[in-house]
């Protein structure tokens, strides 16, 4: 159970390890253990009933949990649970992320599932991704070989695929000090405990009655959640009163490459995305759509 012996690389790898230091965790990860960070997707997403191989529980690693403000902005530890995000005292730009946190499954899942787990599982319907994209989030990755950082948009490469290298661990999400206010809307077939048909996140910074900065993202529509640069450019500089009316399909739909599946057809997803975005813009600029 205790992990310091793994630093020497000699002990036989136990089937379950919960190290306290990142150094130990990286040593264990380097030996092929499967990282766990809340386990809410472990059994549902594991093909085989037996988990097979060693399990590396990251939730006890010091410094991987909690949200802190640093000179580079905000640092959300990888094993910070969604319930902590929902209840955290964060600037209004994080309102979308906090709202998304309340939509990750039900309370039981929010109390166990973590930000890092959500990102690494890379489900196309991962609730955390769109709001983090609108916050220009970056991910911090570590392995025994060293550390690196990349934009979240580059980290998630496809459905259940990430840029995570063998033996590498996602240690934190870094959000550069964001401006403005954020919001999140989720469309599902039930009121709660539901996989999204479409979700949309937005962030708008208003200055002098005009949109100074806009960031929008749509998830669950395409293999990977996307930002909407055309829309963002169109909104920038507009008087707030005109912003919601500026939202149109042509600024949203081409970015999506929407998919059909058993939850919804592509056409509906595209249409609904536009509606959700318009409502977000209206809410964030103080008007009603």
């Amino acid at each position: 159970m205790y992990a310091n012996e793994y630093l020497t690389g000699e002990a036989e790898l136990a089937e379950y390890v919960r190290p306290r230091s990142l150094e130990e965790a990286l040593a264990i990860a380097g030996r092929g253990a499967k990282p766990l960070a809340g386990c809410t997707d472990l059994f549902p997403a594991t093909d085989r009933p037996a988990l097979g191989g060693a399990l590396l529980d990251l939730t006890g690693v010091e410094g991987l949990s909690g949200i802190t403000r640093t000179d580079r902005g905000w640092r959300i530890g990888a094993v910070t649970r969604w319930a902590e995000v929902a209840g955290a005292a964060l600037p209004p730009a994080f309102d979308g992320l906090r709202a998304a946190a309340r939509e990750v499954g039900a309370i039981q899942i929010q109390n166990a599932g973590t930000v890092g787990g959500n990102l690494c599982n890379a489900s196309p319907a991962a609730d955390g991704v769109p709001p983090l994209l609108t916050l220009d989030a970056r991910v911090e990755l570590a392995s025994a070989a060293g550390r690196r950082e990349m934009a979240l948009a580059e980290f998630v490469t496809g459905p259940r695929r990430t840029a995570l290298a063998e033996g590498e661990i996602l240690t934190a999400v870094i959000v550069p000090e964001p401006a403005g206010r954020g919001a999140f809307l989720k469309l599902g077939a039930r009121s709660s405990l539901v996989i999204s048909i479409v979700m949309a996140a937005g962030r708008i910074d208003v200055a002098g009655g005009r949109v100074a900065e806009a960031a929008f993202s749509v998830g669950a529509c395409s293999p990977v959640a996307v930002r909407l640069p055309a829309l963002e450019a169109a909104l920038a500089g507009l008087p707030v009163a005109e912003a919601a009316d500026r939202v149109e399909a042509g600024l949203v739909v081409p970015a999506l490459s929407a998919l059909s599946d058993l939850r919804a057809e592509a056409g509906y997803r595209a249409e609904a995305s536009v509606v959700l975005i318009r409502r977000l813009v209206a809410g964030l600029t103080g008007g009603a759509a």
Partner: protein, 750 residues
């Protein structure tokens, strides 16, 4: 308490009271033991391996790998499955179904058990099953109406007639001022009781103990016994609690038979607990229907013809055709009514009875069609239903044993505020801009009874024990049946011990068809009266008793005493009577069954009216039910608190039918793609509004001696239509397939 309260007319004072459920304390503390909670010493775990194709053969499995996995004790395949004494492909009795118990290598549907792994731990058995990695010779899956084989079944439901009708449909249509033909599709739905099907089998010689949830405890013993060539009495089936049944826990399934077989072969107790995913296939479902309604209407909005045809799906190897058109036989008056059925064979598991079989799917279609008819006639849907109110059962002309449907319409409409409903659709919005609509549906369910028996024993201390093998799957049998027994015995429920929930008791029949309270209740009622009569005989013939000479018909039982019917000052307690007679107890027995004469003379139906409010997002098409009120008339209500639960539960099932539930097959593989609770949606708490169920009293002297009709299923029947009709009223879009999808509604909104 004074002993001089007026005698209630027919029942004792405790039947009719809203008692809290007797099993409540066990259930809220976690002490109630469900089948899967049993862990006998030395127990092994069984896990079925299931087919990933929908039709074809298994050509190979890596049995060696599974056997070699640590902890695996035995792997059964068709190659080594020990013989059974009954062929799994032969039906048993009225309710038995063909099953898969490894009789050969064929695959008839995805999810079918194709091998069976037994191991020391659940994890080992599960991994062993995965290691089998079966190979198949697959044939194209037939899981759509287009690819399935159309056929004409012999019967529908459990032995019901294919076609029932009276009058000339074509003449009725020809004479009509308006004609309407409308088609509906209902989906595959899975019972999904929260408790997965579980069974723990333990053999002791040729005696078998089974811990398994079952809705027909004694009948099931007979079915299980047939596969093992033992007398039914050798089986002790214990089913004190069922974590929901809804029709899926009455007849044995292949995996259960294999579990029992493995326990015998291996000489150790074996437990089976299906996973949620494994419950999509081998344990029944409500099958798809394709329904057509043809209606003729005269200028006054009265039906001149009603033809309801339903095509039901069943499996390729067994027959259960949803008797959906039956809903149209009894509800609305028409000079010509015809209800017909046929079937389509698909590569799925065999469907079966699921909460309100027939009526749920059938009334979903009928109630929408009736609203369409009202629209054609420019009438308020309630006025239209009243204009076509059946004063006698339309096809047979029989009077109803009782029918307070008019009162249900009235009470429900009043509580809902129906009178202010605009006639045209898309007239209402709420303060948030949501399109708002009001809809209604008529609820109907027949009142079957099953043969049941019971015994009642009055003991020396004046208390009693009553016995019948009743099944409480949540409906409240432990409580309502005890109330009936206690009432017949002239005792408070607290003074009556109720032995139930296992097979070494008199047969309580089937807990299904909403008939358990009536059937087992009547048996208990008669047993209680029999025991009282024996006690009265003792007192009446004893010169030392104040009741000497009354004769056993000359007494009444109340609060543990017998009273002379014509002189209440003459009375004696049960304990005194037994003490002087030197007897430890008196015993009574009773039976419950439908009186054929009343079934011949009367139409026996429960009725209700459901009103729903739905809000629809005008841009997104999202639908939410925001209000639901039902009013039901189902004869005498034994326990209003628990009956209300049944009504509300049924109404939520109706909401779920209308908006959520659907198993979706992959057309290519034949597999169900949403075979878990993440994909197969049932409503969550946040989907359900505040609701009310109003109870309309009916005094029914004909339906049975208790006047009980049954409340377990009727709540679904009007509710699907009420929600669908409310969607129309909100949007102008008329749903014709269920569940109603956002994509269906959306085009009408733009």
């Amino acid at each position: 308490m004074p002993d001089t309260l007026p005698f209630p007319p027919r029942m004792g004072s405790n039947a009719g009271q809203p008692l809290s459920r007797r099993d409540g304390p066990l259930k809220v503390t976690g002490a109630a033991t469900f089948a899967a909670d049993n862990h006998p010493e030395g127990m092994l775990y069984a896990v079925p391996a299931t087919a990933a194709i929908a039709r074809g053969r298994v050509t190979g499995m890596n049995v060696a790998a599974a056997r070699a996995h640590p902890g695996v004790v035995e792997v059964y395949t068709p190659a080594n499955r020990p013989p059974l004494m009954h062929d799994p492909d032969e039906k048993l009795g009225l309710f038995g179904m063909r099953m898969e118990a490894l009789q050969n290598d064929s695959v008839r549907y995805a999810g079918q058990p194709i091998a069976f792994v037994v191991a020391e731990t659940l994890e080992a058995a599960t991994e062993g099953a995965a290691l089998l990695a079966p190979e198949y010779a697959a044939e194209p899956a037939r899981v759509t109406a287009e690819t399935g084989e159309r056929y004409t079944p012999e019967r529908v439901g459990f032995g019901g007639p294919l076609s029932v009708g009276a009058g000339d449909i074509e003449a009725g249509l020809a004479a009509a001022a308006h004609r309407l033909e409308t088609r509906f599709e209902t989906p595959d739905q899975y019972h999904n009781a929260m408790e997965p099907h579980a069974l723990v089998a333990q053999w002791d010689g040729d005696k078998l103990t089974l811990d398994t949830p079952n809705q027909a405890i004694v009948m099931a013993c007979g079915l299980f016994a047939a596969y093992f060539g033992i007398p039914a009495e050798n089986i002790h089936l214990r089913s004190p609690f069922l974590g929901g049944g809804f029709g899926s826990k009455a007849v044995p399934t292949g995996a259960q038979i294999l579990t029992i077989l493995a326990a015998r072969e291996l000489g150790r107790p074996v437990k089976l607990a299906l996973t949620r995913q494994q419950m999509f296939g081998p344990v029944g479902h409500r099958a798809r229907t394709w329904q057509t309604l043809r209606m003729g209407l005269d200028g006054a909005g009265k039906l001149t013809a009603l033809h309801h045809h339903s095509t039901g799906a069943t499996s390729s190897f067994d027959d259960f055709i949803e008797p959906a058109a039956a809903a149209s036989r009894t509800l609305y008056a028409s000079p010509a009514i015809l209800t017909t059925h046929d079937g389509i064979r698909l590569d799925t598991g065999t469907p079966g009875a699921m909460r309100a079989p027939g009526e749920a799917s059938g009334s979903a279609a009928l109630e929408v069609a009736i609203d369409e008819a009202a629209e054609v006639c420019g009438m308020n849907p309630l006025a239209f239903r009243l204009a076509n109110y059946a004063e006698v059962e339309p096809i047979t002309g029989k009077p109803y044993s009782s029918k307070a449907l008019r009162e249900c319409y009235e009470a429900g409409a009043k509580a809902f505020g129906w009178a202010s409903r605009p006639l045209a659709p898309r007239q209402m919005r709420d303060e948030a801009g949501m399109l708002t609509g009001w809809g209604m549906g008529t609820a109907v369910f027949h009142c079957p009874m099953f043969p049941a028996s019971a015994e009642a024993v009055i003991r020396a201390d004046g208390t009693a024990v009553i016995r019948t093998s009743g099944a409480d799957m949540g409906q409240g049998a432990w409580t309502a049946l005890a109330q009936i027994g206690a009432a017949a015995l002239g005792l408070d429920p607290d003074q009556v011990e109720f032995e139930s929930g296992h097979s070494h008791l008199p047969d309580a029949g089937v807990a299904g068809g909403s008939g358990h309270t009536a059937s087992a209740g009547q048996a208990l009622h008669n047993a209680g009266e029999d025991a009282v009569a024996r006690l009265a005989e003792l007192a009446s013939t004893d010169p030392a008793s104040p009741l000497y000479g009354t004769g056993n018909a000359g007494v009444l039982a109340r609060r543990g005493r017998l009273y002379a019917r014509d002189d209440e000052s003459r009375s004696e307690s049960y304990a005194e009577i037994l003490a002087r007679a030197g007897k430890p107890q008196v015993e009574g027995t009773g039976k419950g069954a439908r009186d054929p004469a009343s079934a011949e003379t009367y139409a026996l139906q429960a009725h209700g009216a459901v009103f729903a409010e739905v809000k629809v997002d005008p841009e997104l098409g999202q639908m939410r039910v925001s209000r639901m009120i039902g009013a039901f008339a189902a004869g005498r209500i034994i326990n209003p608190k628990l009956a209300r639960s049944q009504y509300l539960g049924g109404m939520i099932w109706g909401l779920s039918f209308a908006l959520h539930e659907e198993a979706i097959h992959d057309r290519r593989t034949g597999r169900i793609v949403n075979a878990d609770f993440a994909g197969y949606h049932v409503p969550v708490n946040a989907d359900v509004p505040e609701m009310e169920a109003i109870m309309i009293h009916e005094d029914d002297p004909h339906v049975n001696v208790l006047g009980v009709k049954g409340v377990g299923e009727i709540g679904i029947t009007g509710s699907v239509g009420a929600v669908a009709n409310a969607i129309w009223h909100a949007t102008g879009f008329r749903p014709h397939r269920f569940p109603v999808r956002i994509e269906d509604v959306l085009p009408s909104l733009s």
